[in-house]
Amino acid sequence: MTSVLTVLFNGVAYGMLLFIMSVGLSVTMGMMNFVNLAQASFSMLGGYTMVAVTQKFGIPFLASLPIAFVVVGIASLVLERLVFRHFYGTDDLTQVLLTIGLIFMSIAIVTYFWGSTYQQVSVPAWLTGQQEVLGFTLERYRMFLVVVGGALAFVLVFGLERTRFGAIVRACVDNNRVARACGLNTQLVFALTFAIGGGLAGLAGALSANLLGIDPNFPLRYLVYLLIVVSVGGMGTISGTLIAGLVLGVGDVACKYYVPQIGGFVIYAITVAVMLWRPHGLLGRRA
C-alpha cells in the first residue's frame, strides 16, 4: 500500500512538472492559435536566468522564479514585436519551420554565452532530501512542485481562462476583424498573451532545472513532451493541459514501476490512444 501511494504521489509530481512545462505552450498555441515551438527555448532561457541570478547575484531561489518569469516574458514580448507578429496569419507549417529555426538559433546563442556544458543548479537545503508526511517518505522538491503547479493552475484557470481578458483573447483569435471592429486593440491583446505564455515558459524552465538539468540542448530534448501534453490536453484549455499532465505523469510513473520492461513506452501509447479517441484532445474545443 505504501508503495502504491508513493508511486501515485511521484506520478502526480511528475504530472505537475509536465503541466508547468507545457502550460506556456498551451497559452500561445491554444489561446492564440500560434504554433510556437520556441516555447521550449523560452524555458531554457528561464533556466539560465535562474542559474545566473542565483549564482552571480546571490538572489535566493524563490525570488529568482518571478525574475525568470519577467525576464523571459519581456524577451518574448520583444521577439513578438520583431518577429512573431508577422506570422500570425500564416499556416501551421510556416510557423513550425520559423520557430524550430529559432530553437536552433537559441541553442547556438546559449552555447556562445554559457558554453556547452551543463549548468550547476542548486536549490535551497529545505527543498532537497526527503520529508516524512503521514507515514510516507516524500521528496521535498516534488511536494514543492505539486504546490506550485496547483497554485499556477488555479491562477491561470480563474485569472486568464475564465475572465474577460480570456474572452477577449479568444474573440481576437476567432474573428480578428470583428474583434477590431468592436474596438478591441488586437495587437496589444496578442502581445500581452504572448508575453504571458513566454513568461510561463521561463518560469517552467526555472522550476524544472533542478530535475531536468539545464544545457543548450534543453529545448530539443523536452520539446516532444511539451507537444504531447498540449495535444493530449486539447488546444486552448488550461484545465485540459493540467489533466493531461496528471494522466501522463501518473501513467508513466506507474507503468515504469509495475512493468519497467515497457515503462518508457507508455507515455507514447497513451498519447496515441487519446488522439484516436478524441482527436482534439481530452478537453479540446472543436476547431
Binding site: T117, Y118, Q130, T137, Y141, N217, Y225, Y257, P260, Q261
Partner: protein
C-alpha cells in the same frame, strides 16, 4: 596581353611546384569528432588537447608538418561520418585519421580506411571487437569490458553481494549489463534485479522505488554521458536510496569531470571505474593538468576525450618520428604502433600487438570533494586490463 597570360601561367606553375614541394614534407591528419549539437563538448576537448600537444611537441614530427583537417561528425550519424571520411581521404588526401567518434561512425569508416590504407585512431567508441574491423584501426580510448567488469569482483570483495543492475536501454548499455552480470555471478554475487531505462527519461522515481523494494547491497549504474547520468545520480540521491546505505557503483562516464559539477553533491561517494582522473598521482599527469588549465582555462574540465586525443597524437607523432626522412608508409606505421607501450597522463598503456586495441590500467575511484571541487579520487588500481 599575351605576356600577361604567359607570366600568369608561369607564376601559376611556380606556385604549383611550390605547393607540390611542400606536400613532400607535410602530412594531412583528419580530425573527425562532434563539434556541434549534443556532442560539441567533445570537439572543444579535442581542440584543447591538440592545442597543448602541438605547443609542447611542435607541429612537424619527423620533419613532416602536420596539416589538420577538422570535420564535424555531428554525433552518432554513420551516413554523415562515412561521407566525411570519404571526403577527407579521397579529396583532402589525409593520411592519418583521428576519429570518427562513436561506434556506428567508426564501423562506417572501416571499409574506407582499410581500402585506402589510412591508419585510424579510435577515440570515442568503446564497443568490444570494433578494432578488428580494420587492420588500420587502433584505439586510444577504452573498451566496454574494461569499464563494466571490474566493479563486479570489487563489490563481492567488499561484501556487497546483492547487486541491482540499472543500465540505459541501448546497445552499449546491453553490452555492459551482460559483462557486469556474468562477472558478478562468476565472482559469487547475486543480481537481485535489473532494469533498462530509456535514453530519453526525465523521470526516475519509479525505478528508484523498485530498487528500494528489492533491498540490494549495491546498485550498479551504466548511463551515457550527459543528462541521463546527471538525472540518475540526482535521483539516487533525492529518493533517499543512497542515504539508506545502498552503495552506488557506476561506470566512470557517470561522474565525468566535464559535468560532475552539474550533478553537485548528489555525486558524492559514488564508486566508479575509470581510465583517467585529473587526480591521477603521477608527475606526468600533474604537469599535464597544470599546462592544460594554463592554456585552456579551468572550464570545461579535462575529460576522457581530451586524454584519448592526447594519446592518439602521441602515437601519431612517435610513428611519424620513426619514419623521419622517408615518405609516409601506412603499413610501417601500423607495425610501429602495434605492441607499443608508453606512459600517458592516465598511466601506462599498451597497444595490443595482435589487434591494435588498448590495454591499460583501470582505476576504481570514489567521488569526493577536494578543495570544494568534486573529483574522482583513485582508490585502487587494476593493472593492464585487457579489452575482452
Amino acid at each position: 596581353m599575351r605576356t600577361l597570360t604567359l607570366s600568369l601561367t608561369a607564376a601559376g606553375l611556380v606556385l604549383g611546384l611550390a605547393t607540390h614541394a611542400n606536400a613532400q614534407d607535410s602530412i594531412k591528419v583528419g580530425v573527425l569528432v562532434g563539434y556541434s549539437g549534443i556532442s560539441s563538448l567533445s570537439g572543444q576537448q579535442t581542440d584543447a588537447a591538440i592545442k597543448l600537444f602541438q605547443k609542447r611537441y611542435g607541429e612537424a614530427p619527423g620533419g613532416k608538418k602536420i596539416e589538420l583537417i577538422r570535420r564535424d561528425t555531428t554525433g552518432p550519424n554513420p551516413e554523415v561520418a562515412k561521407r566525411l571520411v570519404q571526403e577527407v581521404v579521397t579529396r583532402d588526401k589525409a593520411r592519418i585519421l583521428i576519429g570518427p567518434d562513436f561506434t556506428p561512425n567508426t564501423l562506417a569508416a572501416a571499409p574506407i580506411v582499410t581500402e585506402a590504407k589510412i591508419p585510424t585512431m579510435v577515440i570515442g567508441a568503446a564497443t568490444t571487437g570494433i578494432i578488428e574491423k580494420s587492420p588500420y584501426f587502433t584505439r586510444t580510448f577504452f573498451a566496454t569490458p574494461q569499464q563494466c567488469k571490474p566493479l563486479a569482483p570489487y563489490a563481492v570483495k567488499n561484501n556487497w553481494k546483492r547487486v541491482y543492475v540499472m543500465v540505459a536501454d541501448f546497445a552499449p548499455g546491453h553490452d555492459c549489463e551482460k559483462y557486469y552480470i556474468s562477472t558478478l555471478t562468476e565472482a559469487g554475487g547475486t543480481v537481485v534485479g535489473n532494469v533498462r531505462i530509456p535514453l530519453s527519461n526525465p523521470e526516475f522515481s519509479a525505478y528508484m522505488q523498485r530498487i528500494k523494494d528489492s533491498k540490494p547491497d549495491a546498485l550498479f549504474i551504466f548511463m551515457p554521458l550527459g543528462e541521463p547520468s546527471i538525472g540518475a545520480l540526482r535521483a539516487v540521491n533525492d529518493s533517499g536510496l543512497k542515504a539508506s546505505g545502498v552503495k552506488i557503483l557506476a561506470v566512470g562516464d557517470t561522474t565525468d569531470e566535464t559535468y560532475v559539477d552539474a550533478v553537485g553533491d548528489a555525486a558524492l561517494g559514488t564508486i566508479t571505474t575509470g581510465i583517467y582522473s585529473t587526480q591521477h598521482d603521477s608527475a606526468m599527469n600533474k604537469e599535464f593538468v597544470k599546462d592544460f588549465e594554463a592554456l585552456n582555462g579551468k572550464s570545461p574540465r579535462i575529460g576522457w576525450t581530451a586524454i584519448a586525443i592526447w594519446d592518439a597524437f602521441r602515437l601519431a607523432y612517435d610513428g611519424l618520428e620513426a619514419q623521419s626522412g622517408s615518405s609516409f608508409d601506412p603499413d610501417k606505421f601500423m607495425a610501429f604502433v602495434h605492441g607499443r607501450s608508453f606512459e600517458s597522463p592516465r598511466g601506462p598503456i599498451t597497444i595490443d600487438k595482435a589487434t591494435g586495441d588498448i590495454i591499460q590500467n583501470i582505476y576504481i575511484r570514489r567521488t569526493d570533494k577536494i578543495d570544494g571541487v568534486l573529483q574522482n579520487v583513485e582508490i585502487a588500481t587494476l593493472p593492464n586490463e585487457g579489452f575482452k
